[in-house]
C-alpha cells in the first residue's frame, strides 16, 4: 500500500449533526487502481464518508487532496466531481429515455454530440441496454434501472468511482451478473473504487482493502484476510463473522479435486478453478473437527492438520477455539467436548475438515 501512489486523501474529517459528531475520520486514503470495500452497520457513517469525499456533505473540519493537490474552492470540487462518478443506492434516473440518462454526465461536461453518441453506445452495449436505448426510464424494471445508473456512471470515463450499496434490493442472479460486469470494467480501465456494501462475499471478492466502520469511526482496515482472521475487537469479529478466510492459489486441479496452496499449508477442496487462480478459502468454524492425539480410524475428511490452541472464548452453549495450524483456523466445540478432551490454551491438537466444506471465492490479485 505504501509504495502505491495515493490518489485521494482525506484528513481530519469531522461531521456534526445536531451537536453530535456523526463522523470522525483522522485520515483515509485511496490509492491508484485500488478497490476498497466499506463495511459496517447502518448509521456507521459509510455513505456520509463517500459524500464527504466529493464535497457533498456539510462538514466541520476536513481537507481532501486529489493527486496531491488540495480540493477547496467550488471550481476545484467541480473539477474533482468531473473526474469521478458516484452510484447511489437508488438508481435516481432522469425522466427521459435510457439513452439520455446514460448521456447526462457527458452533456453536463459539454462533450460533443458525436462523441456522446459513440461513448453512450459503448456503455449501452456493455450493460446490455442497447435494445432499449429509446425506451422511457419510467418503464424499466428494478434491475434495468440499476444497469442504466451504472452505465451513466461509467460513461463519463471516471478515474475514481464510488458505489453506495448499488445492488441493494436485487435478486441474487442479477446481483451476481452486475457485480461481474462492473468488476470487469473497473479492471479493464484501471479505475479506483470505493464500495459501500453489506455483502461479505462481495467485499471479499472485489476488494484489496476492507475498511470496517462503526459509529462514525474507522475501526479497522486491512486486506480482507487480515480483517476477517484478525479482527481487532469484539465488534469487528461479530460483524465480519467467524469464518476463517485464507488467501491462496490453486496449485493443482485433477478432475475438480483442487489443491490450494495457502501460507503455511495445502488445503484439499473441490471446484473448477484452473491452477494459478487466486482464491480465498473460507472455512466455517462449525465444520472444523478438533481431536486430541492422532486419529486411529480413517475418516472422509481430506484435510488434517497438527496445531495448537491459541485462544479459547466462550460463545454461549459452545466455545470458540482459535487454532494455529501453520495458518489461523477457528473451530467451535461444545462444552461437553471441551471437558472430555481436556482442552486448554497451548494444547497440541489435531484439526480436520472435509474438502467439500471449504468454500472458494475468487480473489483480485493485488
Amino acid at each position: 500500500m505504501t509504495q502505491q501512489q495515493h490518489l485521494l486523501d482525506l484528513k481530519e474529517l469531522r461531521v456534526d449533526r445536531g451537536g453530535v459528531t456523526v463522523l470522525d475520520i483522522p485520515s483515509f486514503s485511496l490509492c491508484q487502481n485500488e478497490f476498497i470495500s466499506l463495511i459496517g452497520p447502518n448509521g456507521a457513517g459509510k455513505s456520509t464518508l463517500l459524500l464527504s469525499l466529493l464535497g457533498l456533505m456539510k462538514h466541520e473540519t476536513g481537507t481532501v487532496t486529489y493527486r496531491g493537490a488540495a480540493v477547496a474552492s467550488p471550481a476545484q470540487w467541480l473539477d474533482l466531481r468531473r473526474r469521478t462518478a458516484m452510484v447511489l443506492q437508488d438508481p435516481l434516473l432522469f425522466d427521459s429515455t435510457v439513452f439520455d440518462n446514460v448521456a447526462s454526465g457527458l452533456k453536463l461536461r459539454g462533450v460533443g454530440r458525436t462523441e456522446i453518441k459513440s461513448r453512450v453506445a459503448t456503455y449501452l452495449e456493455r450493460f446490455n441496454l442497447a435494445h432499449m436505448a429509446q425506451r422511457s426510464a419510467r418503464k424499466l424494471s428494478g434491475g434495468e434501472a440499476r444497469r442504466v445508473s451504472l452505465a451513466r456512471a461509467f460513461a463519463v470515463d471516471p478515474e475514481v468511482i464510488f458505489f453506495d450499496e448499488p445492488f441493494a434490493n436485487l435478486d441474487p442472479p442479477t446481483r451476481q451478473a452486475l457485480t461481474e460486469d462492473m468488476d470487469r470494467i473497473i479492471r479493464d480501465r484501471g479505475i479506483a473504487a470505493i464500495l459501500v456494501t453489506h455483502d461479505q462475499s462481495e467485499a471479499l471478492r472485489m476488494s484489496q482493502r476492507i475498511v470496517v466502520m462503526n459509529a462514525g469511526r474507522i475501526v479497522q482496515q486491512g486486506t480482507p484476510a487480515a480483517v476477517m482472521n484478525h479482527p481487532v475487537n469484539e465488534f469487528v469479529a461479530n460483524f465480519v463473522g467467524m469464518e476463517t478466510i485464507l488467501e491462496g492459489e490453486v496449485a493443482n486441479n485433477r478432475h475438480q479435486q483442487l489443491t490450494v496452496r495457502v501460507a503455511g499449508g495445502e488445503i484439499d477442496t473441490v471446484g473448477d478453478d484452473a491452477p494459478g487462480t487466486q482464491v480465498y478459502c473460507c472455512i466455517r468454524p462449525e465444520n472444523v473437527t478438533v481431536t486430541v492425539g492422532h486419529p486411529e480410524n480413517k475418516s472422509s475428511a481430506r484435510n488434517h492438520f497438527e496445531g495448537r490452541i491459541v485462544e479459547i472464548a466462550a460463545m454461549g452453549p459452545f466455545l470458540k477455539l482459535r487454532l494455529d495450524c501453520g495458518f489461523p483456523l477457528t473451530a467451535y466445540v461444545t462444552r461437553e467436548s471441551f471437558t472430555e478432551l481436556a482442552l486448554y490454551e497451548g494444547k497440541e491438537i489435531h484439526a480436520s475438515f472435509k474438502a467439500t466444506s471449504v468454500h472458494l471465492l475468487p480473489r483480485r490479485a493485488v
Binding site: L78, L108, L140, R152, F162
Partner: protein, 232 residues
C-alpha cells in the same frame, strides 16, 4: 323552458357565425389571462425554486403564507390593486386603472402564489438524493437547478394550468380593476355577469360555452399530466 332553449339556439348561432363581439371578448380573455399566467410563471418558478432549494429561518412561515395565497379571494386582490392604482393612490400616476394592464396585474397577483406553491411542492417532492446525484454527475449549480426544474416539469405544468384556470374564470378582480369597458376591458366572465343581469341569456350562454371549453381544455391537460409516473 323556452328561455333556455331559445338561449342555447341563439348562442350556437353566435358561435357558429363567429360573432365579432364574442370573438373579441374571448381573445382578450385569452390574452390577459395568458399574459398574467406567463408573468406568474416567471416570478413563481424562480422564487419558488429558490425557496425550495435553500433553507433559512422563517422558511416554514413563508411557505405557509404562499400556500394561503394559493386560495386568495379575487375580490380582495381586486380591492388591493384598485387602491394601489387609484388616481391618488401610490401608483395612481401610472393611470392604469380600468385598462387591460390593470387586469393583467391583478390576475398575476392571483396566479403567482399558485405557481409558486406548486413549484415549492414539486421541488420538495423530488427524491432527496437527486440533488446529490446530479452534483456527483458533474453539474454546476446552475445546471443542477435546471435539471431539477426539468425533472419537476410535469407538476410544474400542472401548476401553470391551475394558475391559468384560476384567472380565466375569475370575475371579481377583473370587474373591479378593469371596469368591464366594452371592446376594451370586457372579458368572458365580466361580460357574462353583465349579459345575465340584462336578461340577454343567449349572449351569456355563448360566452359561458367558450369559458367552459377553455376550462375543459385546461383540465384535460392537467389530468393527462397527473397520470404519468416518475422513473425509479
Amino acid at each position: 323552458m323556452d328561455v333556455i332553449l331559445e338561449g342555447f339556439s341563439k348562442a350556437f348561432q353566435l358561435l357558429a357565425s363567429l360573432d365579432r363581439e364574442v370573438l373579441g371578448i374571448a381573445l382578450l380573455s385569452l390574452k390577459v389571462s395568458g399574459l398574467a399566467t406567463l408573468f406568474s410563471l416567471v416570478i413563481g418558478l424562480s422564487v419558488g425554486t429558490l425557496v425550495a432549494l435553500t433553507s433559512f429561518p422563517g422558511k416554514k412561515i413563508l411557505v405557509s403564507v404562499v400556500n394561503t395565497g394559493m386560495g386568495l379571494p379575487p375580490v380582495v386582490v381586486g380591492l388591493f390593486v384598485s387602491i394601489m392604482l387609484w388616481r391618488n393612490g401610490p401608483l395612481g400616476y401610472l393611470e392604469l386603472l380600468y385598462t387591460p394592464t390593470a387586469i393583467v396585474i391583478a390576475q398575476t397577483v392571483i396566479a403567482t402564489p399558485i405557481v409558486m406553491g406548486v413549484t415549492i411542492g414539486a421541488m420538495q417532492n423530488l427524491p432527496a438524493n437527486l440533488r446529490l446525484q446530479i452534483l456527483a454527475l458533474g453539474a454546476t449549480r446552475v445546471q443542477m437547478v435546471w435539471m431539477l426544474i426539468k425533472e419537476a416539469r410535469l407538476p410544474l405544468m400542472a401548476g401553470v394550468m391551475a394558475g391559468f384556470g384560476g384567472v380565466i374564470s375569475e370575475v371579481g378582480a377583473s370587474i373591479m380593476v378593469g371596469g368591464n369597458v366594452r371592446g376594451y376591458t370586457r372579458v368572458l366572465t365580466t361580460a357574462t355577469v353583465m349579459e345575465t343581469g340584462r336578461g340577454n341569456f343567449d349572449m351569456a350562454i355563448a360566452l359561458s360555452v367558450i369559458l367552459l371549453l377553455f376550462c375543459f381544455a385546461v383540465n384535460y391537460i392537467l389530468t393527462y399530466i397527473q397520470q404519468r409516473e416518475r422513473p425509479r
